[in-house]
Symmetry: C2
């Protein structure tokens, strides 16, 4: 295994070891769960990718489901943080435009987490149903009220805020969840920096025109 472990002058503290191992396990788990699904993922595969014996996974995370739950929670919190651009905006151009930018960036930087979330919801959200019924529902209702406020102020056309939100979620996350299909249709190559910029601009343009904000 790591021969260079001998080289390190100072022995890492136990808390550091724990933190680093948990991070390695979570990163590996996110990728494996995304690529194989919960049922297709194996603890052995995650352990190999994390560079640890399988038994160590069970030392840090009691069960496969515990590990999975942590992975799902991560992407959910990242998305919630990204929505802050929504709130302080004076109108839909800044608010929705900023939200699209943030969600598209996350689709590029966290494609695995997005896929795990999509898979979880597609299978009926057996693990995070409570989040849907509390945090997500509250968040959604708050943003619907905000969009309705913009409509009342005449800053955008009267569209159904709920279906607008669904379109934003669907479109931005599509670039992560269906990234493989998009890559295949891009001659098999991942989108370049330029192509990601064009994608963001296209989505913002279509949405902001669609709601009559520009």
């Amino acid at each position: 295994m790591p021969a260079d472990a001998q080289i390190t002058r100072l022995k890492p503290r136990r808390t550091d070891i724990r933190r680093e191992n948990e991070r390695a396990i979570l990163d590996a788990a996110e990728k494996v769960f995304a690529e194989a699904g919960f049922g297709g993922a194996t603890m052995q595969l995650i352990a190999d990718m994390a560079g640890l014996p399988k038994a160590n996974l069970h030392y840090y995370f009691a069960t496969k489901e515990d590990l999975y739950r942590k992975v799902v929670q991560q992407i959910f919190e990242i998305w919630l943080d990204a929505a802050s651009s929504f709130d302080d905006a004076p109108g839909p151009v800044e608010g929705l435009g900023g939200y699209i930018d943030a969600k598209m960036d996350i689709s590029r930087t966290h494609p695995y987490g997005s896929k795990v979330w999509a898979s979880e919801v597609m299978h009926g959200a057996p693990v995070i149903q409570d989040y849907l019924e509390t945090t997500l529902r509250d968040w959604t209702n708050g943003r619907i009220a905000l969009i309705q406020h913009w409509i009342n102020e005449g800053k955008m056309r009267p569209v159904d805020p709920r279906h607008l939100l669904y379109m934003l979620w669907a479109t931005t996350q599509h670039y992560a969840d269906f990234g493989h299909q998009i890559q295949t249709l891009n001659s098999g190559k991942p989108l370049s920096d330029r192509q990601w910029s064009e994608a963001k601009a296209s989505v913002k343009d279509l949405v902001l025109r669609g709601i009559g904000a520009i």
Copy 2:
């Protein structure tokens, strides 16, 4: 009248039995694969839902993967058929509007198939990669040319046809793939006929306004 003539008439023919059993297996498999993923699905569960012994599944479909492949092919062909509304249309309002209607209807009538497709693509399309590189790529290029033609004729704004298609796919399939999330945000109840109509109208309105066709 010969006695065996009676029996022959009453007893279903072998080809009928085969057809009915294959249909029952495929329907059950579509649902189980959608709800559990390929890895989480078990032949036992599919057999129970189809009302057949597990061994019979292996009689009709040699392996679990053979059965899965058939399920994925089904939804793909349904989507291709739905795209015919695209071609004979005089302009984007009829063409894209009709396509959205058709895709939304399929999301409602075939949610399981849509989820199986999404799961397959999210996991890197291990089974249907060849479809992506041939049929889907050709279909996409053809529709991009058609949309570009409408743009050249001044029937819609100059938007990137590729990202427009991605938005259509993402948004329409979202109502199937994330149907559970949508239902949770709808007080736990499935969308009513009226709500489905509103969803279709909202999507069409947002898209057709976004491209400047209405």
